[in-house]
Symmetry: C2
Subunit: 338 residues, 2 copies
Amino acid sequence: MTNQQTEKNLTVGDIGEQGILNEILPLLDAKDAGLGPGDDAGALRVAGGEVVVSVDTIVQDQDFRLVWPSGHEHKAYDIGWKSIAQNVSDINAMGGVPTGAVVSLSMPSDVTLSWAKEFARGIAGAITSLGADRLAILGGDLSRSSEISVTTTVLGECEHGKVLRNGAKSGDLVAVAGRLGSAGAGLALLDALQDSTSWNRAVLRLVEAQCKPVPPLESGPRAAQAGASAMMDISDGLLRDAGRLARASRVSLELDRQALEVFAQRLEPAATLLKADPMEWVLRGGEDFGLLATFPAEAEIPEEFTVIGKVLRTTGRRSTIRLDGKQLDYRNGFDHFG
Amino acid sequence: MTNQQTEKNLTVGDIGEQGILNEILPLLDAKDAGLGPGDDAGALRVAGGEVVVSVDTIVQDQDFRLVWPSGHEHKAYDIGWKSIAQNVSDINAMGGVPTGAVVSLSMPSDVTLSWAKEFARGIAGAITSLGADRLAILGGDLSRSSEISVTTTVLGECEHGKVLRNGAKSGDLVAVAGRLGSAGAGLALLDALQDSTSWNRAVLRLVEAQCKPVPPLESGPRAAQAGASAMMDISDGLLRDAGRLARASRVSLELDRQALEVFAQRLEPAATLLKADPMEWVLRGGEDFGLLATFPAEAEIPEEFTVIGKVLRTTGRRSTIRLDGKQLDYRNGFDHFG
């Protein structure tokens, strides 16, 4: 047996906690943000007198499958990537810059060491590729469990002040940055009973949008600087998240179908393949981790944002979301326990 | 059916993510540390220009059982308590004060709402009872999973500077604060095939030490202020953790059996019941979350610390731990994947 083969078969149960750490810590970069892994706690230098904090968990067979119904295999690298991507997105959505993270990985003891190393490489890869240049891995935890589960906590700084969900005002414009519906289309593809080996490149790009989401990292601070009145990331679908922003701000939103068509057109390859309506993915698909923001009419909206509607006064008892004048139900969408 | 019965039978799957949040957020206190749950990220004001961060996960059937072999039922309250206790302990072990936390709870959809609420009450109860007066819950996450899993991240401040593991010097004294071996004895009781309903109060106190550990919270900052040269919490057993401290500091430790006898005596009720050697629990039992610290000989060691040995120069290639002159193997102890 060659060394490579030996390592391929090695499980995390074979080498134990310290053995895993010895293998994966060199793959992660503690940078010079403070104290990295090794002591009871990590440390992070903070410039502004305030840190923002976000936590998210992804669980095997709930948030991802190791093998999807389509036969597509979910890479360990992509799971590490997504655990970072969805958390830095939350910091981005506050108008902040991610500066530090701790990662807790729970897994069965028969997971291979090479899986764990690819997972760690995915974390490092996301940090670099998403442009989270200041993000340092400050520590983590390893646990044994019957299913793979990753909880990532990311800290960040908001140089231009925090942008909350509750600041949208009647007369503001509604805008989005990043992808819309791509990850939702990708999820539908992964869940479809169609042989993934026959997919073309346009389709695979949508699958990648689900497995390796790309939150528009610089757009959050830029929107904050431009005076965004409210902002959040779109993790559970445009409609559902727009409903949350509207309720928090006690306003209603009017969306423009024509502006959203641009996003729907990009989903045509998958829509054709699955005989689906791409606008449904645009409105209800989650996990693209794009930004939904509102700006005062006089604000200079950063160019990567697309205006998709406007903020209206709420006339009835409840915030409403209208698309070309027709009221939509924004309560449907992803619910972990629904 | 009365309202009380209805609520008792309600599951988290019945009421969904927002329903759970509506029930448990009022039980948690965001205090005035910053922005609490509700936006994409929480926020925490930081005084000193640096935060320390620690994360830990506890998993059903790995770190706790809902029903132990002894028949003892593990309360949801205690699981919430422990998730806080073991994390504030890490901050304590750096000489810091816990100031903020985010909690991620994963659970099956058939978990009852009353379980989730008791879990939240345990978090709030630990914060109050352990004296973590400044600790605010800043946010969290709910996920569905096949087993209960809790990941808690705690942030803190070190007013008197961070105490690391690597500062012990030859000539320093070794001291501990808090319990030693109690949680280990409690674990042995919970795992024993003995009917827990017949246990007396002395025995139940040890079970409680396992289920509701009490890290000596003020002792960490006090040790830092007194000039502790190295410190960590004892989570995996005195010997194993002393070995880590010794290796990080490149020193050896000589422990004094007589000083440790005090701790062993407190475990006699369980030792008699299980025909066990209580000193084994003192040396190898984990999860009391006491402090292991070293102090320069001239330091005024805070009175709650018990001196249990001294720091020696390492003569051979490896750090050694000796008890009354006899070298002990400090590599055995709890390993999640061992």
